[in-house]
């Protein structure tokens, strides 16, 4: 056998190259080439750099809250990180948020005086739920005033009538005053003038006082302040010097020719840290008659630029950023709100799909949370029928209203009143 193998492979020693020898040489060359190629491939350096990503989960630092009213309701996700909102656009809209101070003073601000300031108490004889209180101890010869107020936005539609109503009483009033006046009205912060006002005389029991405002005196879509307050000028002799003015409810009802809505639909509560938040419109299923403006505002009175929808088309897709700082929280108030102004002439729902984008640093930096929001706007004829609800967050005991450390002017007593300037 070995002799045959030797003869077969080594015939070249005895003559010309045979075909088997050539084939063997080619095969060996191929193997050598493959081996060389393998060496080259395996010789390429592969660098492995270790990396780890650790997720340490936390509860949301910014949570959504429901703002239920006769014209809006909200369903909030279990972690407060999503919401479905239904808004009923109606021909008759009540514009004041938390009109009855039921469980907190949320949405209401105070323009305090030297001795008089604004408070909230959870109950009072003859009142429904909590009441706002303007209270203070005055000195002989002192002149002072204080007001509660809330920004409202007129519907962006033809307005047929405007009626303001205040339910109030006095629990204590100074005696031997030069004059004292109780005021209710609608104030224009731009002109720093009352659009309309009236004085009234509360008694020891709650009464309702109404003021009819000429629709032609307001601009549709413009923001005003609903104001209720007291101004007093003490005499030089003091007997009883305590002013205790209690307000159970304040409403501003507007009738429009088309179905409208104007008000807060969601509360934003920053529980930890600072967030820079905006709204981003990502989807719209709107009827051609929908005109809407959606904004985000904070407790200091700052409001974003709006998402604007006109004729069912989005003209702007995002608001500007608004700072929501837990350090500036006030008990009984949300840190901020989502506001909707809408008008709609045709039947059928309009649905808006948005994100609340809330970042821990300005300009979309830091960690950014995206909370999905769905807002359905449904026009209804006549008065809206959603059930009324309390305005969270509720308070267990008395508290102060947010003071006027705002960029808004101090509200004077009306010109022409005994205490007016």
């Amino acid at each position: 056998m070995s002799d045959r193998w030797a003869r077969g492979l080594c015939r070249r020693r005895r003559g010309p190259l045979c075909s088997r020898c050539v084939a063997s040489a080619v095969l060996l060359s191929l193997l050598a080439a493959l081996g060389l190629a393998a060496v080259v491939v395996r010789g390429t350096p592969w660098v492995y750099e270790p990396t780890s990503a650790t997720l340490s989960f936390v509860e949301p630092g910014l949570v959504l809250g429901a703002v239920n009213s006769t014209q809006s309701s909200a369903s909030i996700g279990p972690a407060g990180a999503s919401a479905n909102v239904t808004v009923v656009a109606s021909n008759t809209s009540q514009l004041v948020s938390n009109p009855d101070f039921y469980s907190s003073p949320d949405y209401w601000y105070c323009s305090p005086g030297q001795s008089l300031s604004c408070y909230w108490i959870p109950s009072d004889t003859g009142a429904s739920g909590g009441v706002a209180v303007i209270y203070g101890t005055l000195s002989a010869g002192e002149s002072d005033s204080a007001f509660i107020y809330q920004p409202v936005t007129m519907p962006n539609a033809s307005i047929a009538s405007i009626t303001m109503a205040v339910r109030a009483r006095i629990a204590s009033q100074p005696i031997l005053v030069n004059w004292i006046v109780y005021v209710m009205g609608l104030y224009d912060p731009d002109t720093q003038q009352y659009v309309a006002y009236q004085t009234f005389t509360p008694t020891i029991t709650y009464q309702t006082f109404t003021l009819s405002i000429n629709p032609s005196s307001v601009t549709p879509g413009k923001q005003y302040l609903v104001v209720v307050g007291v101004a007093v000028d003490m005499s030089s002799i003091v007997l009883i010097n305590t002013e205790d003015f209690r307000i159970d409810s304040v409403t501003l009802t507007v009738s429009t020719e088309t179905a409208t809505f104007s008000g807060n639909v969601l509360g934003l509560n920053a529980t930890e840290g600072v967030f820079y938040a905006r709204l981003v419109l990502v989807g719209l299923n709107a009827s051609g008659s929908l005109n809407a403006s959606i904004t985000i505002a904070n407790l200091t009175g700052y409001s974003s630029t709006p998402i604007t929808i006109s004729g069912g088309e989005a003209l702007s897709g995002a608001t500007s950023f608004v700072e929501l700082n837990s350090a500036s929280n006030v008990p009984g108030y949300y840190t901020g709100w989502v506001r909707v102004e809408a008008s709609k002439g045709q039947a059928g729902n309009s649905t808006l799909y948005l994100y609340l984008e809330a970042c821990t640093a300005p300009g979309g930096a830091g960690a950014c949370s995206y909370y999905p929001l769905e807002i359905v706007i449904d026009p209804q004829e006549g008065v809206a029928t959603l059930s009324a609800g309390a305005s969270p967050p509720g308070l267990p005991g008395p508290s102060r209203l947010v003071g006027l450390n705002l960029s808004l002017p101090r509200i004077p007593a009306p010109t022409g009143s005994p205490g007016g300037g």
Binding site: V47, Y48, E49, A53, L55, S56, E59, V282, A367, Y370
Partner: protein, 204 residues
């Protein structure tokens, strides 16, 4: 068996074994002189802090505000990220950079997820790699995701595997974002760590 026969068998076995040993040790051992020189070089592909490294994160731990923690090894060849996401979608933009510091070579880069995150059902966790300065764009509702075509690649941190990212040119820089989605209604998971490798090899 006769004694002679047993002796013959023993001799035969010894002879065969001896022959086998002889064959085994008959190899010729040739020693060629060879040298291997190891010349350590600085890594050319590595990590650097992104613009959001050290930035404010969500929540408070032990009384201190959380931060986006990015720890890079001394030679920029290892990386540890720690973030504090919450429910719904939490997005961290530009938390770290992948840099090719070579002035000559391009590198092919992959990311291997060796140990994935274990998150509640329906959750998502992605690293998203962008070119330097790329405009971010999220789309979709109610879960936003990076718009296709705006990024280079995304790496799913919830499953093992290797994702080819692409070729980073000499001097090139990529920005790395992180997207986490946790559905509402689930219990927040305990701390989770994904272990990865950035794999780089010269491509030119």
């Amino acid at each position: 068996m006769a004694a002679n026969a047993r002796q013959l068998a023993a001799v035969t076995i010894i002879a065969v074994a001896s022959l086998a040993l002889a064959i085994a040790y008959a190899h010729v051992m040739t020693y060629y002189p060879t040298s291997v020189t190891v010349s350590p070089t600085a890594p050319e592909v590595g990590f650097a802090p992104g613009s959001n490294a050290g930035g404010a994160d969500i929540g408070v731990t032990n009384g201190n505000s959380n931060t986006i923690t990015v720890t890079i090894g001394q030679n920029a060849t290892s990386l540890e990220l720690t973030v504090h996401p919450t429910y719904q979608t939490t997005y961290y933009q530009n938390i770290t950079l992948i840099e090719n510091n070579s002035t000559l070579k391009s590198y092919s880069v992959s990311i291997e997820v060796a140990s994935p995150l274990s998150l509640p059902s329906g959750s998502k966790a992605y690293l998203i790699i962008y070119s330097k300065g790329a405009t971010r764009s999220l789309s979709g509702w109610p879960i936003p995701t990076p718009t296709t075509g705006t990024y280079i690649a995304e790496v799913d941190l919830t499953s093992t595997g290797t994702t080819a990212i692409g070729t980073i040119s000499s001097g090139g820089v990529w920005e790395v974002d992180l997207l986490i989605y946790i559905p509402e209604g689930v219990t927040l998971p305990s701390q989770q760590t994904a272990e990865l490798y950035l794999i780089a090899t010269p491509s030119s």
